[in-house]
Amino acid sequence: MFSYILRRLGALVVILFGSSFLLYNLSAISTDPLGDLRTSTAENKEYLILALTRELRLDLPPPLRYFIWLRGVLGIFTGNANFGLTREQEPVIEAIAGAIPTTIRLVAVATIVAIVLGIALGITSALRQYSRFDYGMTFFAFLLFSLPIFWVAVLLKQYLAIDFNDFLVTAKISPPWIIFFSALVGLFWATIISGSRRRVLMVFSGVFVANSIFLSFISATEWLSYPRLGPITIFIFSIGIAYAVTYLSVGLSDRAALKSNLLLALIGVIIYFPIQSLLDSNRPRVGILILLAALLISAVSVSFIFARIDRGPVIRTSVITSVLIGALILVDQMMQAWRPYVESDDVNYRPVATIGQSTIWLTEVSFWVRVLDFAMHLVLPTLALTLISFAGYVRFSRGTLLDVLNQDYIRTARAKGLTERTVIMRHAFRNTMIPLTTIMVGDVAGIVGGAIITERVFAWQGMGTLFNKAINSFDLNLLMGVILFLSTLAILANLIADLLYSALDPRIRVGAGK
């Protein structure tokens, strides 16, 4: 295995060498940095052309220029890499290093949301094959597949930013909208639930009424203008999380897991009070760390208290629950920053941002307001990216799970009397994850590529912007820097996908030729 990885890494260097040589020459031949100058009417035209030729070494043929560039890049092995300068005389490596965090922030959130939502809905869809929900989900996924990303972006800007910001000024939901939304949510759940017509109707009306009351409450208390979770809501949500995670992970029949998860929900609320002052102090990062550490430690200790034997699954479940509860407390913290954020002069009651990655001139504000600012700028681009890649996960996880469910060993599992939950979560879902992992890892590079367009639409200053700038200003050094980064990412992702595939599926022997 080790020699296999070494061989692949060796191949990586060779491939990068080949593809960069090809691309360098292709780009060098197909672009003409002097084009603008030739047609210009400046008096010192000849001089300018000469100066640029000397600066970019245009007197040398492209292959030679490539090796000059390569000598600088190979310095990476001796510790002094030189990726050249951009046209603005900035080192390429610095330009890229400045852009990476922005792109990662954009891509990471979108990917995670897409994977979690996509797999959850895809699996539900497969379990309810040929139901109304399945048809609806299929249609929705295909609709998303068919949307050009900047077409969606323009729609999102109009309806989710401009119109939604207008709505937030009053934050009053009118009765027709309440009825509409509640009917929508009711329909969603009614299509998931299977059973007699009577049961479906019960579910629909139940959800409809509950949702209507909920929305009326939100509208009446102006919760959207003054959002806050508070300890009681957090406690209720935590109990919900405890039940849900336990059910999905080990089943409610595992009393030890259920007890430790419920106790965790209580511990979460108790921690909530002392942690507030720490989070509000001027060292909020320490507060976050302490919060998570406290939750994790209590997760492990409650598992040890309740579970005498077979502690592994219980610990796993508790850890998941504790992380989710921690996230709830942090979300509450961000909500407390909502008023100062919305009321600040620069935001001026228009919280959903359409352009840029942060409000640059937002100074002298607390840590949480800044975090909230990042979050509000992330909303639209993330939504656009998520909508596009989420459909793929829905379709793929549905397809794979259906394939797995038709296998004989699933029938065997059912026949020996295992509960449906165990069959689905343990026998079927885990095997579904094998092809899904490959797709996920392989997708990362693709999503970074997709971010190029998203960044342009929403005017983010990330890798995509660098790439566009490099192409449009014939900046070869910058272009090669970006390409080299993306290529390395793509190859590494592929290598990881291969290794994961063989690690997850013992039948697959990777790198074994004979």
């Binding site: 191949a11 990586l12 060779v14 491939i15 990068l16 080949g18 593809s19 090809l22 691309l23 292709l26 780009s27 197909s30 672009t31 040929y130 048809y135 299929t138 249609f139 295909f142 609709l143 597949f145 068919s146 949307l147 050009p148 990303i149 900047f150 077409w151 323009v154 109009q158 793929g392 379709r395 397809g399 394939d403 038709n406 092809p435 490959t438 392989g442 590079a445 590529g449 190029i452 367009i453 342009r456 790439f467 566009n468 192409i471 390409i483 993306l486 290529s487 793509a490 190859i491 592929n494 595939y501 599926d505 039948r507 697959i508 074994a512 030729g513 004979k514």
Partner: protein, 362 residues
Amino acid sequence: MARKRREVEIVNDANENAILNKETEGLSQGQIVLRRFIRHRAAMISVVVLFTLIAVVYTSLDWRLGDEKDPIVIPGWWKYGFEDMPELRYGADCVGDSIGCPTIDAVPFFDGDGIALGPHPFGQDDIGRDYLALVMRGAQRSLLVMFIIGAIAATLGTVIGSLAGYFRGWIDAILMRLVDFIITVPVIIIGSVIGFHFGNKGAAFLALLLGLFSWTGLSRLVRGEFLTLREREFVDASRVAGASNRRIIFKHILPNAVGVIIVSVTLLMSGAILLETALSYLGFGVTSPDVSLGLLISNYQDAFTTRPWLFWYPGIFIIIIALCINFIGDGLRDAFDPRQRRRLSRKEKANARAMANRSDLA
């Protein structure tokens, strides 16, 4: 009692199976697949919609064949060509002082008139060109790009993926390094280089070159499928029975992998339209004076608040095309999958149940 019910359930299951088996008695694999496909309602609707759309789109504009000076003109059903510039309607002709507003009236009775197309149903662009003609031309281009990319990528991806997955060893190593080589190069970069050099050579050529670079994802998927399938018992069985590599690949493994291939090819084809859109948006796709749906959207995305129709119509066409392709792919997947069971109609279910209950009494 519960045990009794379970027995009835088992007999019921067997009866349902019997009903399904009876249907496929004496049919070839192809006939079964065709039957299943025809039964897939969404796919059949999509086939009808897509072919109607293709027919409408390709017959809308005049075809000029032969040499440019003296072409043979086959007239289309729409009166304007995409290069004609009729007078731009504005001011009093339009509602709300907009420029080149659409004249389509699809809502009868609401404003007194019936359904009417008017002179410019989809409106006009900045210089008066009829937007319906532009959208039709754009759809022609986008469909062409899509089919070329899909065909090339499907062929290359399947062949290369199966060879790598089946033979493993050095063939796999070489082919997969080739895949790595191409995957490392972002498609948008290839597109922009190609567009810079060959943008004037037309959409078909652009699509051809793009197709040569978009098979990699599919080949990896096919390879993965082959890696799993080749270790399965039925492959061992056929090898022991003396089947050749070719026969094992095409007769035994490929039919089992065909679902994966078809689903990803359809995704690839709808992705091809979006790729073309993206390239046009960046300025490296189909270039003016030719039009594509992507180019139309990117030209008029800023006009959304004032003249939304310039933004909506090309987008709707893209969505319809991509949706149909995806649904057809879904239908094909279900049809090809040998393990897929059809959902019985209520009547058939009742039959099976009645039979099961009767056997229970006896």
